[in-house]
C-alpha cells in the first residue's frame, strides 16, 4: 500500500519538475528537457522504498515501528510532525535514494554518472580522457538532493529541519562508504596505489542512522512567531551551527503506546515482541517489556505452526531441492489486560497472516 503512495508521490514531484523545467534547471547534471527526469525517477522511487523497508527493519522492536501513515514525507499541511521519528524517516529516505542512484550508476543505468561535471572543468569525453570522471557518489548525491529536497517548498522551521535531516541521510551514506585500495607498482609494490570508495550494504547505513536517531538534537524554534524575515534568519543560523551529520527534531515524540487517530498512530496493542532466544540483542530481549509492560499491556503467548523449506541444497544462486518442514513456534503479542478471552479467535487469524508473511 505504502509503496504506491511513494511512487505516486514521486511521480507527482516529477510532474512539477517537468512543468517548471525550463526556468529551473540551471545545473549540469540534468541535461535538458523533461526526459532527463524520467531516467532517474524509477531509481528515486525504488530508493525511497528501500529506505522505508530499512526503517521498518530498524524499528521492528520499537514502540514506533515506522507505520505507513507516518511516512508521508510531506503533506503540505502544518500538521505534519517534526519529531525524532520524522527526522529518521527523512534521513533514511534520502539515504535510500542516494544509495540506489549510486548503485544504478555502477550498473550503467544512466548515461552520465559524474562524467558531465568533470573536475577539470571540461565536459564530456575530453575530461574522461584527461583525468577520469568524478566518482558516482558525488553525482548521486546531487541528483538525490534535486529530487528529495525539492519536496520542501516552505521556508519555516519544519522545512529547514527536513532539509537538514535529508542532508544527514546523504552524509550517512558517504560516511559509511568503505575505502579500498590496491597497490600496483613494480611487481605489486606500493609505489602506485589506487583507492576507491565502495558502497556498504544498506543495513550499515540504517544502523548508522539509528544511532544518530538515538542522539538526535532537539532545537527549540517552534515558539518563534510567524514567518518574518528575522525569524527566517534565526532558523538558518541555528541549523547552520549544527553538524550536518546529526539528526535534528523540533518536537517531542508523542506517546506511541496509545492509539491516536488524529496523528495516525496505531498504538502497540497487538504488536509482536521477542522474549526468549539465544541470539537476541539486549534491545530485542527487552522488547516485550517495552512494547507491552511499559504500555500497560500484557504479554500473551501464542503457538503458531509454520511451514518452511528446509534441508535445501544450495548453489551460489537460486536454491534448489528443498523439503517442506512444519514446526511449531512460540510468539508473543501485546494484548489488553483482561481481553485474553477472545484469544483463540484472534490467534487463528494471526496464524494465517503469519503463514502468509512467510511465503
Amino acid at each position: 500500500m505504502f509503496i504506491h503512495w511513494e511512487v505516486f508521490y514521486y511521480v507527482f514531484i516529477l510532474m512539477t519538475h517537468m512543468r517548471s523545467c525550463c526556468s529551473w534547471s540551471v545545473n549540469n547534471f540534468l541535461m535538458t528537457g523533461p526526459k532527463a527526469y524520467l531516467i532517474y525517477s524509477s531509481s528515486v522511487a525504488a530508493g525511497a522504498q528501500s529506505g522505508i523497508e530499512e526503517c521498518k527493519y530498524q524499528f521492528a522492536w520499537d514502540r514506533w515501528n515506522c507505520p505507513e501513515r507516518a511516512l508521508q514525507l510531506t503533506t503540505h499541511s502544518s500538521l505534519r510532525s517534526a519529531n525524532r521519528e520524522a527526522a529518521f524517516v527523512h534521513a533514511i529516505s534520502s539515504a535510500g535514494v542516494m544509495y540506489t542512484l549510486t548503485r544504478n550508476c555502477s550498473l550503467g543505468d544512466f548515461d552520465n554518472c559524474g562524467c558531465d561535471d568533470s573536475r577539470n572543468g571540461q565536459r564530456g569525453g575530453y575530461g574522461w580522457l584527461w583525468g577520469g570522471c568524478s566518482d558516482n557518489v558525488g553525482f548521486s548525491e546531487a541528483i538525490s538532493k534535486q529530487f528529495v529536497d525539492a519536496l520542501e517548498t516552505g521556508q519555516d522551521a519544519r522545512a529547514a529541519m527536513n532539509l537538514h535531516n535529508n542532508e544527514a541521510g546523504r552524509k550517512a551514506v558517504k560516511g559509511t562508504m568503505q575505502r579500498t585500495c590496491k597497490c600496483h607498482g613494480v611487481s605489486g609494490s606500493c609505489t602506485t596505489q589506487t583507492c576507491w570508495l565502495q558502497l556498504p550494504e544498506f543495513r550499515e547505513v540504517g544502523n548508522y542512522l539509528k544511532e544518530k536517531y538515538h542522539r538526535a538534537l532537539k532545537v527549540d524554534l517552534l515558539r518563534g512567531a510567524g514567518n518574518s524575515a528575522a525569524n527566517r534568519g534565526a532558523i538558518t543560523e541555528t541549523f547552520s551551527s549544527i553538524s550536518r551529520k546529526e539528526l535534528v527534531h523540533l518536537e517531542d515524540s508523542p506517546d506511541y503506546c496509545l492509539e491516536n487517530r488524529t496523528l495516525g498512530l496505531p498504538g502497540t496493542e497487538g504488536r509482536e515482541c521477542l522474549k526468549k532466544g539465544k541470539n537476541l540483542s539486549k534491545w530485542e530481549k527487552r522488547s516485550c517489556k517495552r512494547l507491552c509492560g511499559e504500555c500497560g499491556l500484557v504479554v500473551e503467548e501464542r503457538k503458531a505452526e509454520m511451514v518452511s523449506s528446509c534441508n535445501c541444497k544450495f548453489h551460489w544462486c537460486c536454491a534448489v531441492k528443498c523439503e517442506q518442514c512444519r514446526k511449531t513456534v512460540t510468539k508473543y503479542f501485546c494484548v489488553k489486560k483482561g481481553s485474553q478471552r477472545g484469544r483463540n479467535e484472534s490467534a487463528t487469524i494471526r496464524r494465517k497472516s503469519l503463514r502468509l508473511k512467510k511465503h
Binding site: 584527461w130 583525468g131 570522471c133 543495513r203 544450495f314
Partner: protein, 498 residues
C-alpha cells in the same frame, strides 16, 4: 678524485648549482601537482545479471549490460528463483567503460579487480578455502555498432578470502561477508575503445565446482587505468629529460676521455648510471599510443629494475671508496709520508706493518661476510613480504596508513587543486634525473687539472711508475683519488712489481 669539479669549485658556485637544482626539483613537483591529473582512475562496475540459457554457451553470444542490444536482465536472484532460472544460466556482464565514454591508448593499462558481495546464510555458508571457478570471456570492438571480437577466453580459479564480522546466527542472515578484493585481469595496452566481459559461475555437483561459495548477491569489478592527462604529462617530462641527461653524459665522457689515463671504476659506474637513466628516460612509450604493444608494462618494470640496481652498485662502490679512505686515512698518510721520502718502503717489510695490512684485509673480509648476511636477510624479508602481502595489506601499520592518507588525493590551495600523488611521482622522477645529472656534472674531471695532472705526475714519477701500468689499475679497484698514489692495493702492487 681530487681532480673532480666538486673539489675545485668555489663555495659560491657550488651554492649556485645547488639552488638551480632545487629550482628544477620544485618545478618537477609543480608539473605533477598543478598540471597533471591524478595518476590513476578507478571505476566501479557492478555486473549486470543477464539470463542466457546454458545451451547457448558454445555459441559466441555476447551479453551487453545496457544500450540498444542489451540482454535479458534480472534485478536480483530472488527473481531468478521465481522464474526457475538456474545458476548455470546466469551471465555477469560488464562493459568497460561506462556508456558515453571510450577507452584510449593513453590509458596505458587496465587493471581489473574482482569483488563479491556474498550474503551470510546459516544454511549456506562459505566453506573454508572455497574456490570460485569463473568462466570468463573478454571481447572488444571499436565502434558502438559492429560485432564483438573475442580477445580472450579462460577458465579461472580464485580463492575466496572472506570473513564474517558478526556472530554467525540466524539473526544475521542476509548480512554480507567482508571479502578481499581479488586480482582479476590485466591488459597491458589499451588498443581498443570498448571492452566487454562476460562471466559465468558454472555449477557442477559431480566435479564439485562452485559448491560452498555462499550466496553470491553481486559481482563488483573495479577497473583501474592510468589517466590520459597523467600519461601525457609523463611523456612530455620524459621527452624533455632524455636529451638533458644524454648531453651531460656525452660531456662527461668527453672529459674522462680527455684525461691521459684510462677511466677508473667509479667513473665507469657513474657513466653506467647515466646510461641506465637514459634508458628509463627514452620515451619509447610514445609507440604504445600507436601500436598494440602488450609488453610495455613489463618493459617499464625491467628498465626501472636496471636503473635501481645500477644506482645501488654505484652507492656501494662510492661508499666503499670513501669508507676505505676514511678508515685508513691516518695510517695511510703516515706510510705515504714515509713513501714520499723512501720509495723502497713497503708496508710488508715491517712486522707491525704486515700485521696492520693483514688486519685490514681480515676486517674487509668480515665486513664482506656481514654485508652478505645482511643481503640474505633483506632477500628473506622481501620473500616474506611478498607471501604475506595479502594478509598484511588491510592491517597496515598506522604510520604507513597515515602516509597513504596524505598520499591519497588532492589538496585545495586557494583556487588550485594540487594533485599530491602526481606531484609525488613527477617529483621523484625529476629527483632521480637531477641526482644523476648532478653526480655526472660534479664528479667529472675538472679541466683545471689537465695540466696539473701531467706536472704532478712528473713530480712523483719516481714514486708511482707502476700506477700507469694497466695491471696496476686493475688492482686499484678502490681508488678514489686517482692521483693520490697511496692506496693499500697500490702498495701491494708495487711490492709485487718489485
Amino acid at each position: 678524485m681530487a681532480g673532480a669539479i666538486i673539489e675545485n669549485m668555489s663555495t659560491k658556485k657550488l651554492v649556485i648549482v645547488g639552488v638551480i637544482l632545487l629550482l628544477f626539483q620544485a618545478f618537477a613537483f609543480m608539473v605533477g601537482g598543478l598540471i597533471a591529473p591524478s595518476p590513476t582512475t578507478a571505476v566501479d562496475y557492478l555486473a549486470v545479471k543477464c539470463v542466457g540459457k546454458a545451451s547457448h554457451r558454445q555459441e559466441t553470444k555476447w551479453f551487453m549490460p545496457w544500450g540498444s542490444n542489451q540482454c535479458d536482465k534480472i534485478q536480483s536472484f530472488d527473481e531468478a528463483v521465481a522464474k526457475r532460472i538456474e545458476a548455470n544460466d546466469i551471465v555477469f556482464a560488464v562493459h568497460i567503460p561506462m556508456s558515453n565514454n571510450e577507452m584510449s591508448p593513453w590509458f596505458q593499462f587496465i587493471l581489473v579487480m574482482l569483488q563479491f558481495d556474498i550474503a551470510f546464510k546459516m544454511t549456506n555458508q562459505i566453506k573454508d578455502g572455497a574456490i570460485v571457478n569463473l568462466d570468463v570471456k573478454l571481447a572488444y570492438r571499436d565502434d558502438m555498432v559492429s560485432e564483438w571480437n573475442e580477445m580472450a577466453r579462460s577458465f579461472e580459479k580464485r580463492k575466496l578470502h572472506c570473513n564474517f564480522t558478526f556472530p554467525k546466527t540466524y539473526v544475521n542472515d542476509g548480512r554480507f561477508y567482508t571479502c578481499d578484493v581479488l586480482p582479476f585481469m590485466e591488459v597491458g595496452s589499451v588498443a581498443h575503445k570498448y571492452y566487454l566481459l562476460n562471466i559465468r559461475l558454472p555449477v557442477n555437483e559431480r566435479k564439485k565446482i562452485n559448491l560452498g561459495i555462499g550466496d553470491i548477491k553481486d559481482i563488483h569489478l573495479v577497473g583501474i587505468h592510468q589517466n590520459g592527462g597523467f600519461t601525457k604529462v609523463w611523456f612530455a617530462m620524459k621527452s624533455f629529460l632524455t636529451p638533458s641527461i644524454l648531453i651531460i653524459m656525452i660531456w662527461y665522457w668527453r672529459r674522462i676521455s680527455l684525461m691521459n689515463r684510462p677511466p677508473v671504476l667509479l667513473e665507469k659506474v657513474i657513466f653506467a648510471l647515466g646510461i641506465s637513466m637514459t634508458f628509463i628516460n627514452i620515451p619509447v612509450e610514445w609507440f604504445s599510443v600507436g601500436f598494440n604493444w602488450t609488453w610495455m608494462l613489463l618493459f617499464g618494470d625491467i628498465r626501472q629494475g636496471i636503473f635501481y640496481s645500477m644506482l645501488l652498485s654505484f652507492w656501494i662502490i662510492f661508499c666503499g671508496e670513501h669508507l676505505m679512505v676514511q678508515g685508513e686515512a691516518a695510517e695511510h698518510w703516515r706510510h705515504r709520508g714515509v713513501q714520499l721520502t723512501n720509495p723502497f718502503y713497503s708496508i710488508w717489510a715491517s712486522d707491525v706493518g704486515t700485521e696492520l695490512a693483514l688486519s685490514f684485509i681480515i676486517l674487509a673480509g668480515i665486513c664482506a661476510c656481514l654485508y652478505f648476511l645482511f643481503l640474505c636477510f633483506m632477500v628473506f624479508q622481501v620473500f616474506r613480504n611478498i607471501s604475506g602481502k595479502r594478509t598484511s595489506l588491510p592491517a597496515l601499520s598506522k604510520a604507513r596508513r597515515l602516509h597513504y592518507e596524505v598520499n591519497q588525493g588532492h589538496w585545495h590551495w586557494g583556487g588550485h587543486t594540487v594533485q599530491v600523488n602526481s606531484a609525488f611521482f613527477t617529483g621523484i622522477y625529476g629527483m632521480w634525473n637531477l641526482y644523476v645529472f648532478a653526480i655526472m656534472f660534479l664528479y667529472a674531471p675538472s679541466h683545471k687539472h689537465y695540466g696539473d695532472e701531467q706536472s704532478s705526475g712528473q713530480c712523483i714519477t719516481g714514486i708511482d711508475e707502476g700506477v700507469k701500468s694497466g695491471e696496476n689499475i686493475q688492482l686499484t679497484t678502490t681508488v678514489t683519488h686517482v692521483d693520490g698514489p697511496t692506496e693499500l692495493y697500490r702498495m701491494m702492487g708495487k711490492e709485487a712489481q718489485e
